[in-house]
Symmetry: C2
Subunit: 426 residues, 2 copies
């Protein structure tokens, strides 16, 4: 007879008690062994949604997730390692620029990433629109690319935090995604297992983020920073605004093209601003006194990008695919753009084919939205607001339906909203 | 594509929204078809535990559970039908006496029952200690026995409220049993499907009941009375105290023997009092103006009991089995008994072998506890408090360990606690 029973653990959390370290360890271990069933774990996750975890419980829960799998060892590298994680936004292609940029400044960036689900895109999906590029690397390949190029963006191996893989899939179908302790432990278990020395968290807040309020974003940021610091990872969180899409491009190949523009010293101002803001924190965390803007402007970040893509089989000079069916959304009247709803644009890109509803669905490389006008700009009646791309007319029509109310026009100038909000460190 | 998704239904309830009738109907139907998984249903049940149901939601949820199966038709009987349901207590053998008693007063009592789980015994388990008695009857057998004898105690058929059968098994392993809307819909869906005209609910409150406080018992009673009334079943709830065990016998065969004593006009006063209290409400609900006490004292209730047992193959004259291993627990000092903890006694009887931990476990007919001294009585040091029965010494030792602190002795007289508490009707 076991020292614990799943029902006792569930009812304790349900009734607001803190779980003992032994109970947490037993529950996750028994779940991985199949002795605790999915329906018991989902009931516990829902109880955690309501009653939360104390810091000690969350630490143990996260430790056990890390201990369930292997850890990457980046200790032997000649460069200090630093990673970035974003909680997900619309048009968020920052990783594609940031990883080679920070590598060109002398750090190693081990960006183990996931795929997109719902209205926010995934970094791997974007890079897979580059012909030949492959997402799966062995641990030896990761280490050698970090040493030689300085930047790796690849799929997180199956061996890192395998409990998280199962819990995430379960949370996805049981309405238990939006829980701060569960989100925190999911993100941080993978990042800690990845072996990075330092970590910057881009915590998105606003219409296009899954966290809508500043207070909740701060709570999530504090929780993750605390978990990282407890595990010896120098961790800082930057809250950033996600009300309008980042940059102009939303979609896989479209975002690669825009990223290359920024890597070559051009591109939309907000993408450059956020990339540099995060790069400065990353360099500060690993003690590298380099101005990242200079590396965008002198071509070194772009050179590192090319090496990074080539090292994983991709052709950085390949022509990017574009959806065969196009449409333009026009301004119905003149006015100053008050807002461009990131959620509407994200859903439109998703329906156009750029995103997936289930993790096994394919995505279209060429589908997406180009935002042709941004908040604060004046548009004439009939001026283009969005260009839409899809692989077929059915997707095009579905995407178009989703975007019709994305832009609000007004007569007055729109208030300026800062992109970089609060910085959270321990 | 379906009009609903399980995740949307779960998150709506999680976030405190009321579910539409269509959403509830879809969810239960999809669950029975296997389109909604156990882990999704358990997450919803946990969300219901926290956020409850509005009356309209609960009504729809219960309706759908009834509609998932067949309904017994008792319309053609020459007697009015009235049933009793108890939420479960320690030593609660009332059904064994009440069904034939109320039948002997002219009503039909269709008592479709379940088995015990945990520290409270099940009516079917008790009757199965009578040699030859069988719990499974066809619907035709139930109707004919109701007409001819007036009382049936048998297993609820698989056809009644099949959703409840699956939900109950799921709740049992996912820590979602103790939810008033879920308890209410589970009990009432079966009782309404059973087709009874009237129903008395014995809602237990106290140490040995699963509801510990009067307020929560009242809330459960009101919820069930309202569900019954809405479905045309005349329903009254009686809150009753369950701090000390009912009567002296706790265990399957032991309780049958004690029930026969009460049916013959003797037995413990509290068992007789509660039986008569519930019988009076049942008779009132179906308009029968008979004094039930006279039917205990003149032998007619016992005669009906014998017919009821014989109609289901049982031998009412068979000698009842008694556990081969016995032990006596003595008072460690003299004093007045302040309390006899029903939960401790229930757990002891369970460990002695009278109860089961999983629904597929067998139970021992001869195991159990005789409570030899009751609250308010004076005992000498060394006087017997409990007699324990088990089939083997291992069970005997386990039961003995559980009962050691069940009795509290003191120097002052114990306060009298009424057995019948509040009556709840619409």
């Amino acid at each position: 007879m076991s020292a614990f029973s799943a029902v006792e653990v569930i009812t304790a959390k349900r009734d607001g008690d803190a779980l003992s370290d032994d109970a947490i360890t037993w529950m996750l271990d028994a779940y991985m062994k199949g002795e605790v069933a999915d329906e018991q774990m989902s009931a516990l996750l829902m109880a955690v949604f309501f009653n939360g975890f104390e810091p000690r419980e969350l630490l143990t829960w996260t430790d056990q997730m890390i201990a369930s799998g292997e850890r990457l060892d980046l200790k032997g590298l000649s460069r200090p390692s630093v990673d970035k994680h974003s909680t997900g936004g619309v048009g968020d292609k920052i990783s594609l620029i940031l990883a080679p940029l920070v590598a060109s400044c002398g750090a190693a960036v081990p960006q183990l990433s996931g795929r997109g689900l719902g209205h926010t895109g995934g970094t791997l999906d974007k890079l897979e629109s580059i012909p030949g590029w492959r997402a799966f690397l062995s641990n030896d390949e990761i280490r050698s690319q970090l040493e030689n190029v300085g930047a790796v963006i690849c799929a997180a191996g199956q061996g890192l935090a395998p409990v998280d893989r199962r819990l995430y899939a379960l949370r996805d179908v049981t309405g238990t995604v939006e829980s701060i302790p569960l989100i925190s432990s999911s993100i941080m278990s993978k990042k800690i297992a990845e072996g990075t020395d330092a970590l910057v968290l881009d915590v998105k807040v606003g219409r296009g983020a899954f966290i809508k309020t500043h207070d909740r974003a701060r709570e999530l940021a504090q929780t993750m920073v605390s978990l990282g610091t407890s595990h010896g990872v120098a961790t800082v969180a930057q809250l950033t605004s996600m009300n309008q899409p980042l940059g102009r491009a939303v979609g896989n190949a479209l975002e690669v093209t825009e990223s290359v523009d920024v890597l070559q010293g051009g591109g939309p101002g907000d993408v450059r601003e956020l990339t540099l803001g995060l790069a400065r924190i990353m360099l500060e965390l690993v003690g590298l006194d380099v101005d990242p803007a200079s590396k965008l402007d002198d071509g070194s970040a772009y050179a590192t990008y090319r090496m990074m893509i080539e090292a994983q089989g991709g052709d950085p000079d390949a022509k990017m695919v574009e959806g065969a069916c196009k449409d333009i959304v026009l301004a119905p009247q003149e006015g100053i753009i008050q807002s461009v709803d990131a959620l509407d644009v994200g859903i439109a890109a998703w329906r156009l084919g750029a995103g997936r509803a289930r993790k096994e669905d394919p995505v279209s490389a060429g589908a997406g939205v180009m935002c042709l006008a941004r908040v604060g700009e004046f548009v004439e009646a009939g001026q283009p607001l969005f260009e839409l791309f899809a692989d077929d007319h059915e997707h095009l029509a579905r995407g178009r339906d989703a975007i019709t109310r994305a832009v609000v026009l007004g007569e007055t100038s729109a208030p300026h909203e800062p992109l970089l909000l609060e910085r959270i460190s321990k």
